[in-house]
Symmetry: C5
């Protein structure tokens, strides 16, 4: 199994380091890193990792700014990442941290680290333990800030129907 | 016939359980469940269920949050689900419950359950009883809350022209 | 020639009956009707009618609600319908009536009927009388409410250049 | 060389006549005109002109209304026109005149005429004189209203590097 | 290696000259320039440069206006550029300067020049020195205005994992 990591020079935190560290902690996998200027360059970078580098899954890491134009860029990048997945039948886990998700830089750095780590764990689950994701289905998992609580006695999905 | 169920760990209610229960009540079908982290992972999950697991139809279940960013994610996911259908010529029934569709958690849970069940019934109709859908055409069917009423003497469609 | 009619159980008026009636009045054509739950199911339904049922053209009939979320659904459905046309090189005539296009239910029903009928006439023109559309080019045709007037002596297009 | 002209019955001015006149003034070319009901029908019409009628380039002419819903239609049509170009590797020159671009009908008619003519000239340049476009690069060309001025001594591009 | 430069006559500054100058300073490469009327013509122009002119990478240069309609055009163009990349598995570096990014024309010209130059450097890195981009990962690089600072001790990515 081979994991692609696509990240940007635009981001203000080295999210890839966090993600790569978390992946290595959980599994021994080949990792290919590909850095592009900004988030709108991520869709083709991810697709190239999947098709040319033969990765089985990709993480696309980015930090969109807080302005309206940045939100639009993030929307365009996200739409492109979904299309890239549909063209390859492989997952690209988008890990975006918007600059306005935290009130100060310290929290923003913490969030970027934590979200990258927690989505790296999702990558491992998708590759090796899909049943673990199903057990967490409907339980309000969040990556970064605290999980939301399941509502009304939700208790995670069953892998047996 | 084989039904795929794609759901998320982000959701706060186990909508898949509700959907699977409703399907089993109506028909004996093979069901494949595939849980991903969030709604933006649903399009490729649904496409993989259709193409790799050879499902005949997929339900894509999710609970987008109430913030503007969550609405954008839901839009991106919905667009991807439509594209996945166009690439496969198969239906993916989107069952999204937005967190702001209910004023309290109890109602939200009820809504998530009810909408999942009612869309599971639509899945059965699409697979086995398309003429039942035509009889309901133009009658203001809603999934979850009460149906809208048909206007001006609307009385459902006729399958014979 | 074969015409596909895709409609929804969500709509509150049987627009398909109006459209089918108008088509039959003008031409003897095979008609295939396919009803789906909502407008976001229309793109793949229309594509299946074109590709699996070998229709030459499709009408996609729907009645989006008035809320912001409904407008977004209509946008996603419209984008999908355009993509389905580009993938098949065939026309899908979208006939959407937004609930907030009329102040009362009686007018809404009248509008749904009239727009369906007038677009059915467009379908006949596209199939059999394209020169009639060119003669109407630039004349402010509307489907449902009164036509807009051509501006500044516009008088319709010429089929001879 | 063959030019496709796609236009609509919705428009309130015969933009195609203006465009065809301007093309004929500059070159002797085969022209195929294809009129559809509205701007959302233009993407597939343009693609059919390129693929079925073997046109080398297409002009897509339309006049979106001023309401929010009309703006959304224009957005969907524009996105479809871009996709149609990507699927064919040929240009489709979009010539849209929004009803709210002019304060009165006389100006609107003038604008529709002028923009159609000036984009027809762009079509000729793209087909026969691409170097003329490069000489105008970065000079603030507008179609219809007065050109914007180049800023800071901009003086058009050079075709020799 | 061959670099495509797609630019517009709509822009008010000759961004291509800036980009081409910067590329030539760093490497001896074949450059193909292709000028189109506006930014919505850039996606197919870029794709033609990649596929018909066999370019290895393309820069797409444009200057969207400040009005809401211009922002929508930029969104459509950006979405198309991302799709063109996914269809070719090659990078198209978008270099857009919005007219409202600067308070006066002098600054706007400076910004258009600087952003074009800095993105030309990104092109060189993508082609010849991808490891340089990785060393800059997460450091808040901006093209044009001053770089953002990395947060919380970010120090650029490592190419060795």
């Amino acid at each position: 199994m081979k994991v692609g990591i696509a990240d940007t020079t635009f981001a203000r935190y080295d999210m890839a380091r966090a993600a790569i560290g978390a992946i290595k902690k959980e599994a021994s996998l080949e990792i290919v890193r590909y850095t592009v200027p900004g988030i709108k360059d991520l869709p083709v970078a991810a697709k190239k990792l999947l098709e040319e580098e033969k990765c089985d899954i990709v993480m696309a890491l980015g930090m969109p700014g807080a302005a309206a134009q940045d939100k639009m860029c993030a929307h365009e990048a996200s739409s492109g990442l979904i299309m890239a997945q549909l063209m390859t039948n492989k997952h690209i886990i988008e890990v975006f941290v918007h600059e306005d998700e935290a009130g100060d830089e310290k929290t923003l750095a913490w969030l970027a680290e934590k979200r990258s780590v927690e989505h790296a764990q999702n990558v491992i689950r998708l590759l090796f333990h899909p049943e673990k994701l199903t057990r967490l289905a409907g339980t309000g998992q969040r990556q970064g800030y605290e999980d939301a609580k399941p509502i009304e006695g939700g208790s995670g999905g069953s892998v047996v129907h």
